[in-house]
């Protein structure tokens, strides 16, 4: 398909499923390489020079970035063609891509339009499932925003080790948790894109200076003798029975290829990861969102009153309810008198959780569990959830995200025609092992 045809299809799909916040009218190809002929969609929160980038929020209306994120630079150099910015929960604040910016669109699940794509990278997952042209999507995860929607839409999604892929150009949700990753239909494409976007970037101080393996080679390796830990707590209460059965079958497939699977317990993570994650994420988010005040870019209003009145007016008008909720909770958690009890305590717990994982990875090559405890819920069901029930959806994904561990979701079956995903979690920088195992996991 040529560029014109690709854009035509993207627009048709967008009309039906609302996957995009912005489609590039006349996409350009800059370089030549392993991505030549591949269309790339980009989660709205990753800046693309010259293309309106809003992180899914109305407060960044008409913001045209002056620079490319490092991942975009790398993609362009390899011949990838950027076709548009995908729909997401504003700033990544959500698990269903329903917390979109005021007046913006909620993407619809490719298998059932009454259901969610998952979030926050919902648009990325949807277009990845539906596109018939060569396509890879750049997504981002803070607490599960890649694997959740990838699982709900039946595609492969990888969230790499924290620091593996440069965050330069990513509009921050929670800087100590944000990771740029990718989604594709096949694990081969994931191996390809990861090889390109991973690596050290001097513009991101938290970027890791470690060599990048050839993942396309990794996926070919057999898994005989590899040790996989089945996370005990993830198969307990609250897990949909059919999802559970499906993931157990997936585990059998791995065993049949010579992997050794054993049950492993992560008591601390299971008990505290969710609270710990939300405290840190919201505390950081509340500082990151401070810059959006209608002064230098994005939405603006008539300048009236004191600067405090003006900033408050713009922020009240253009942030959606979930953004406000997280700003308020996050600010509270770092106020004098509460910092010790919430923010600082959460930081300490996080260290303990990382230690728990590190101990487990001394024994196992990877951990396995369902990506999400349920299949994609209907919008009518989501409406009934309280914020707390909403946050509970991330119970399985926040652990690896909090610990900065790479994780991948592979479509492993269906329930009522809706996709189910199985998640593999690896030690820091063990993306190669995840792809090696993941390649053997797909249902035949």
């Amino acid at each position: 398909m040529n560029a014109k045809e690709i854009i035509k299809q993207a627009k048709e799909l967008d009309k039906e499923y609302l996957f995009f916040n912005k489609i590039v009218e006349d996409p350009k190809v800059y370089g030549e390489g392993t991505l030549s002929g591949t269309a790339i969609s980009v989660k709205d929160c990753v800046v693309v020079k010259g293309v309106e980038s809003r992180a899914g929020s109305k407060i960044l209306e008409n913001y045209i970035p002056l620079f490319d994120a490092t991942v975009i630079e790398k993609i362009k150099a390899e011949g990838g063609m950027i076709i548009g910015k995908t729909a997401q929960d504003a700033f990544g604040f959500g698990s269903f891509a329903t917390n979109v910016g005021i007046g913006m669109k909620v993407p619809l699940n490719p298998f059932d339009k009454e259901r969610s794509c998952g979030g926050s990278s919902g648009g990325s997952a949807g277009i990845t499932q539906k596109a018939t042209f060569n396509h890879i999507s750049i997504a981002e995860s803070t607490g599960g925003s890649i694997v959740c929607p990838a699982s709900f839409c039946g595609v492969v999604g990888i969230c790499p080790t924290y620091g593996r892929v440069s965050r330069y150009g990513l509009m921050d949700y929670a800087n100590s948790l944000d990771k740029i990753g990718a989604m594709a239909k096949t694990i081969e494409e994931i191996a390809l894109i990861m090889r390109i976007i991973a690596g050290h970037d001097p513009r991101d101080s938290t970027s890791l200076d470690k060599p990048v393996p050839n993942y396309s080679e990794s996926i070919k390796k057999p898994i005989k003798g590899m040790k996989i830990g089945m996370i005990k707590e993830a198969f307990g209460e609250g897990l949909d029975k059919e999802v559970k059965d499906n993931v157990k079958q997936a585990i059998k497939r791995l065993e049949s290829q010579g992997a050794k699977v054993e049950e492993v317990s992560l008591p601390l993570t299971s008990k505290y990861a969710l609270e710990c994650y939300y405290l840190i994420a919201m505390a950081e988010a509340s500082t990151n969102l401070a810059k959006y005040c209608g002064m230098r870019y994005g939405a603006e209003e008539k300048v009236e009153g004191s600067f405090n009145e003006y900033f408050s007016k713009v922020r009240s008008q253009y942030f959606n309810a979930e953004s406000k909720r997280r700003i308020i909770i996050g600010t509270f958690a770092r106020m004098a008198g509460y910092r010790d009890a919430y923010y600082l305590k959460a930081m300490k717990v996080r260290t303990k959780i990382i230690e728990e994982y590190k101990k487990v990875f001394k024994k196992f090559d990877a951990l396995i569990c369902p990506t999400m405890p349920v299949i994609a819920p209907k919008f009518t069901e989501i409406e009934k959830l309280t914020p707390m029930q909403n946050y509970m959806m991330d119970i399985l994904t926040v652990g690896p995200n909090l610990a900065g561990l790479p994780h991948i979701t592979i479509p492993s079956g269906t329930k009522d025609k809706m996709p189910i995903g199985t998640m593999l979690i690896g030690d820091h920088l063990a993306e190669d092992k995840l792809m090696q195992i993941g390649a053997k996991l797909k249902a035949n």
Binding site: V46, M171, N175, D204, S205, E284, R296, F307
Partner: protein, 470 residues
Amino acid sequence: MKFTTPVVIGLEIHIELDTESKMFCGCPRSGDDTPNSRTCPICLGHPGSKPVLNKKAVEYGIKLALATKSKIAKELIFSRKSYFYPDMAKNYQISQYEVPLAEKGKITLPNKKIVNLTRIHLEEDPASLVHPAGMQSSSYVLVDYNRSGDPLAEVVTEPDMTSPEEARDFMRQLITILEYLEIFDINNCIIKADANISIKESGYIRSEIKNITGFKDIEKALNYEIQRQRKEVAEGKTLKMQTRSWDASTGTTHLLRTKETEADYGYIIDPDLVKIDLDKSWIDKIQATMPELAEAKLEKFTKEHGLSEEMAKILSKDKKLALMFEEVAVAVNPDLAAKWIRRELPRVLNYSKKTLEDTGIEAIHLIDLLKLIESKTITEKIGQKIIERLVEKTFDVKAYVEKEGLAAVSDKGIIEKFCKEAIKENPKAVDDIKAGNEKSINFLVGQVMRKSKGKAVPDEVQKILKDLIK
């Protein structure tokens, strides 16, 4: 803390460090002053941009910590200080909170009093606000982000100072240290102080005066504030903790806000910046590059070179002159060297509006010159003329004196001839001298000096004149 003195003063000083680039991006720290010309997505706080630490700024901060004998932290940790203000690109400032770069330093004042430093930390400067019609009456402000992200070192003192004079002396000492370390350039870096001041009569209810620039203004602002606080107390008013601004043009302070509670900045550790080990080997490396400071030089100048306390103080304050003195004083009499470096050199530099570096004058020029004076080969007058020419363009002093025939006239006959002429041409002066007006002899000496084109030795001329007139 229990205070007993009539006045208690503590300072928080912001020092702009003289680095090439800004604290967290590659934009130049100084240069083009066209508003918003030295900016990029990082110092403008654009979404997606990330800070990268300028190590030079850290090195400068460590130098200041070492010079003030502060205890340096093991790790460098930056925090986000959150508050909304139009000059803040991100509405948080990257600063340091829980663990500052250094703590517990000290600076000794000229009166030997020690002022303790609570902490030294690094942070980024906000943008600058421009009030087109003055601070009080502008209906809008303009924001210039050229300053946004400049590296600052903040020095916080204990409330150890007891008078405006001490605060002024503290600032002077601090600036001398900064200049010796070459981490601050008074010509293109800003130094600003916030001063906390309280008086005994009020029970030490303090006010904070913001943004005082320059050490002369510190003294003025604090003196004004003491008077204001005393007047309020005398009128029976109860003072409240408050923040005030200093208006240098009127020499007054103005109420900005009363402080009910401490502001809550909701500090979190900046997750975009990694912790940096301030390991011993790095500190040692910096320590090895530390220059001898003014305090040590002062002691050396009095003890080793035998200069007067006053002369030593003046010379040690200026690093360039102090270094010049040390080189010259090994070759010629230290008092002579001090006199010329302290007086003649600055005089001609001031006159030609040049700095020492502009001229290319080095120790060897002064050594040659002063040796010639010491040996009475040339007169001081000729010496002055030579240094004036050296400021324009340097040359070999010895060769120049020979070539131009500037050596002092030692032929007594010639000087006597000039003296006789002068006596003949100025009968009134001669009468005055005879009438007992000794000062008129200087006038005649001047005439003879002119005739000799400065090459006569004034002491000799005077002696000959006296003999002739007697």
